[in-house]
Structure formats: structure tokens, C-alpha cells
């Protein structure tokens, strides 16, 4: 009897840690399968983005009859949190934990927020649209709850993506960073494409019950995928747990990050380039339909071509960077491809050629892929080991904000010119294209500006390569 108890005790003690979510050792090389598993968090991010910006955008306007301006306002809410990414990243860099963890607690909390937002979102939307008895309910209930749902999902997405990327950067040595960046982008794109098709198929026969099932299903999928992605990824750092690093205020850390290595310039390039590539994201399909007379199926193919170009760009960028190309060179090539591609889009409007537009769209996708890969890799490499979270937070804040602002601006410019045109002052030879051409022109101009700003940066990045390892070592010792 006594023997049996001892045996059971030993057995339990032996298997104990197998059921806890930490990696026991921080090994030098992380196998690709583990990185692939980690990159699943990007799939949930892509899923959330598609659901909010694509699917719900349509469902709220068409099926739920919510005013379009209110929908736009709700969807823009998560953008408010984008600048907070830098603070989230900084806090995860300096997180004090008895377990010696820095990233896992944040991804866990971010996942919780995302789950919570999705869990209340369908009911909030139904109340907002006055479904059932909600028609008599005070208006503020629907408004505040829908706003809360979108804010929760947005905050969750920002946290998960920022800290998840920081974790990925922690895990692999610098020479493998391009591989990780490529993987993360591909998974994001894949998550967006797959979930766009899935949501489209699931919501084909719309009913309120189906909406609830789909959104809450996304909540469950988010938790499951993020949990699977995170399991046993971050090693416990005993040294860090025993002697927590000195707490650094955000302002101080920010100053330290920005004062060296052209970080501000890099962020400016990212802002300009992202705005340049992203401005026409939502205008491309209406442009194809309105100006070139393409059918819905054809304009959808346009989006597929864009995604295909981006995929190819990520692939090429990963390959070149692995062979030792400099990240800023790759990003510059991307911008260089983008400028003539946007020119070609304008050209396609003049010649009314669908083929030209397809080629040009592919070119912008390719350029965007190279540019985003190059700049994210550059950010990862420029960040000191102790500030990876902050650097990636800054990257995310700048990238998300500029993409959001650019998309909104593109739409506003298009609408303003289109309105002006109906008055008869514009138009002329271009016809309906006149509303779009200035946007594409502005994109090319922004890319040219990004290239110009990036020029001095290439010299700095070139010069710092020797000093970087020394600096990294110094910081590691001080921890």
C-alpha cells in the first residue's frame, strides 16, 4: 500500500512539467516546425482583421442596416490603440515574473481580450441594429457595447501581434530573422485569405443565429490556435527571475531606442512606404469595376493577384536576405518596383486594358511584399536585444496607423474628386478614372519620398554592422 503511494508520487512528479506550457531549455536552433507553430498567432490576427474590416463591414451595412458612417467609426476604433503598441512592447521587455517569462503573459492576456471581444460582438451588433426587442432599448446600449467589442478585439490583436513578433525574434538568432519575418507575413496573408473564403461561405445564408455562430466560433478558434502556437515556446529564464532587470521608464527606453542607428528615419520610411502601398487597398476593386468595367469575379481575381504578388515578394525577400542582402536594399527595391507599377495602373485606365491592370497589380503586390519584409527585418536587426519588444511595438504602431490613415485618406480623396466631377469641373479625357488617378499618383509620390528618406539610412545601417555585436553583448551582460 505504502509502496504504491510512493510509486504514484514519483510518477506524477516526473510527468508534472510535461503538462505546463514552458520550454525547458532555450536551444540554439529552433526547428522550423516550432516556428511554424508559433506563426499560427498571425493566422488569428489575419482572421480578426478580415472579420472586422471585410465581413462585418458588409454584414453591418447590408444585413443589419447600420448607417455606413457609424460602421466606419466602429471599424476605426481599434486604430486608436495602435500607438499603444510601443508601450505594450516596452512593458513586455521589462516584465517582472517569477517564472522568468516576458512574452507569454502578454500573449495570454491579448488572446483573452480578443476572445472577449468576439464573444460579445454578435449580440452587441444585433442590439445595435435593433434586432428583436432591442428596437425599444435605449440607443446607448447598442453603441457602447459594439464599441467595447471592437475595442477589445483591436486591443487583443495589437497585443498578440506585437508581443508574438517579439517572441519570435527572441527565439531565433539574427541570421534566421529573415526566415521568421517571411513566415510571419505568409501566415498573416494565409490566415486572411483562408478566413475570407471561410466567412464568405459560412455567411452565404445569413441569419442572426448564423452570425452569432460564426463570430463566436472565431473566438474559440482564436483561443485554440493561440494556445497551440504558444505552448512550450518561451523558455523560462531563471537568471531574469532571480534578478529582475532594473525598471526603465518608457520615455527613457524610447530615447535610448531612437537616439541611435537612424531608428527615427527607419520609422519614417515605414510610415511613408506603408501609406504609399496601402492607400489603394480598398479602391482597387471599385477602380476595376467602375473604370475598366470588370465583373465582380474579375475584380476578386484582382485581389488574388495582389496577394500572389505579395507572396512572391516575401519569398524573394527571404531568399535574398538569407544570402546576405541588406534589409534596406530589399525594401528600396520594393519601393522601386512600386513606383512604375502605380504608373502602370494609371496607364491601364487610359488604355482601358484589364491585362495591364493585372500586371500592374501584381507589381504593386510584389513591391509591397519586398518593402514590408525588408523594413520589418531591418527593425528586428536594429533593435538591441533588450528592446526588441519596444522596437517591434514602434514598428507596429507606425505601420498600423499609417495604413489606416492612408486607406481613409484614399477613400476621402476619391469621394471628394468624384463629387467635384459630377459638378463638371473635372473629368475630361479620363472620365470616371479621374477620381482614382490622383490617388495612384499620390501613392507613387509617397513611395518616391520613402526612397529619398531611406537613402541616408543605408549608409548608417552599413556602418553599424561591426559595432552591433559588441553593443548587444554589453546589454546582455547588464541584464
Amino acid at each position: 500500500m505504502f509502496e504504491y503511494r510512493k510509486f504514484a508520487l514519483n510518477k506524477l512528479a516526473g510527468i508534472g512539467t510535461r503538462f505546463l506550457p514552458f520550454a525547458d531549455v532555450a536551444s540554439d536552433d529552433v526547428p522550423l516546425s516550432r516556428l511554424l507553430r508559433l506563426s499560427l498567432f498571425q493566422v488569428t490576427v489575419g482572421m480578426a482583421l478580415v472579420l472586422m474590416v471585410g465581413t462585418l463591414n458588409r454584414v453591418m451595412i447590408v444585413e443589419l442596416n447600420v448607417p455606413a458612417t457609424l460602421v466606419a467609426g466602429m471599424l476605426a476604433l481599434p486604430l486608436v490603440f495602435a500607438p499603444l503598441r510601443a508601450i505594450i512592447g516596452h512593458r513586455s521587455d521589462n516584465f517582472v515574473s517569477a517564472l522568468g517569462w516576458r512574452r507569454v503573459p502578454f500573449i495570454y492576456k491579448g488572446t483573452m481580450l480578443q476572445f472577449g471581444g468576439f464573444a460579445i460582438m454578435p449580440f452587441a451588433l444585433l442590439v445595435l441594429s435593433g434586432f428583436g426587442e432591442a428596437i425599444d432599448a435605449p440607443r446607448w446600449i447598442g453603441l457602447t457595447s459594439a464599441a467595447l467589442a471592437f475595442l477589445l478585439v483591436g486591443a487583443g490583436v495589437h497585443t498578440v501581434q506585437t508581443v508574438g513578433l517579439a517572441l519570435a525574434t527572441d527565439l531565433v538568432p539574427e541570421r534566421d530573422h529573415p526566415k521568421v519575418v517571411g513566415l510571419m507575413y505568409v501566415m498573416l496573408l494565409l490566415g486572411m485569405i483562408v478566413s475570407a473564403f471561410a466567412y464568405g461561405a459560412l455567411l452565404e445564408n445569413y441569419s442572426p443565429g448564423r452570425l452569432i455562430q460564426v463570430i463566436q466560433g472565431s473566438a474559440v478558434v482564436t483561443v485554440v490556435l493561440n494556445g497551440f502556437a504558444l505552448w512550450k515556446q518561451e523558455a523560462r529564464n531563471r537568471m531574469r527571475a532571480m534578478a529582475p532587470p532594473k525598471q526603465i521608464a518608457f520615455g527613457e527606453a524610447w530615447q535610448k531606442l531612437t537616439e541611435s542607428r537612424g531608428m527615427i528615419t527607419l520609422l519614417a520610411v515605414i510610415a511613408l512606404g506603408t501609406a504609399g502601398f496601402g492607400m489603394a487597398d480598398v479602391l482597387l476593386e471599385p477602380f476595376g469595376g467602375q473604370v475598366l468595367g470588370m465583373t465582380v469575379a474579375e475584380t476578386t481575381r484582382l485581389t488574388v493577384v495582389l496577394a500572389g504578388g505579395s507572396l512572391l515578394g516575401f519569398g524573394y525577400a527571404s531568399g535574398w536576405l538569407a544570402q546576405g542582402a541588406r534589409p534596406m536594399d530589399v525594401a528600396s527595391i520594393g519601393a522601386l518596383i512600386g513606383i512604375p507599377a502605380f504608373g502602370l495602373i494609371i496607364f491601364s485606365a487610359i488604355h482601358v486594358s484589364t491585362l495591364l491592370l493585372m500586371v500592374a497589380t501584381f507589381g504593386t503586390g510584389l513591391g509591397a511584399g519586398l518593402f514590408s519584409h525588408g523594413t520589418l527585418t531591418a527593425t528586428m536587426r536594429a533593435a538591441p536585444r533588450a528592446q526588441i519588444g519596444l522596437a517591434l511595438g514602434a514598428w507596429g504602431a507606425v505601420q498600423t496607423t499609417s495604413a489606416g490613415v492612408a486607406i481613409a485618406m484614399g477613400g476621402v480623396i476619391r469621394d471628394m474628386i468624384a463629387q467635384d466631377m459630377s459638378g463638371g469641373t473635372f473629368g475630361g479625357v479620363l472620365g470616371p478614372a479621374a477620381a482614382y488617378v490622383p490617388v495612384f499618383g499620390l501613392q507613387a509620390a509617397l513611395l518616391a519620398l520613402a526612397l529619398l528618406v531611406a537613402l541616408p539610412l543605408r549608409k548608417i545601417v552599413l556602418g553599424k554592422r561591426e559595432t552591433e555585436t559588441g553593443l548587444d553583448r554589453k546589454i546582455d551582460l547588464s541584464i
Binding site: A98, K109, M112, G116, A119, F123, V127, A134, A137, I141
Partner: protein, 51 residues
Amino acid sequence: MSDDPNKVWPTGLTLKEAEEVHSYLIDGTRVFGVIALIAHLLVAVSTPWLG
């Protein structure tokens, strides 16, 4: 490692570590609780089930 007196059975975590893991569990329960409450309120607004 096994001579650390703070280790608790059966996971081999120290007391402080175990408490941290537990704090995440508590956090999660609270968040789930509040979310469930809000969700129920919203459902009650659109399709009341209590008279």
C-alpha cells in the same frame, strides 16, 4: 534543483512561480466572468427570456 525547499509538489515549481501561474488563472476567470455577464445582458435586451 531538487534541494530547493520552496519547491511544491507535484509540478516542481517554487511557491512564487506557482502563485504566478495561479494569478493568470484568476485573471482569466474574471475576464470570462465579466464577458459572460455582458453577453447575457445583451441577449436579454434583444430577446428577453425572463418575462
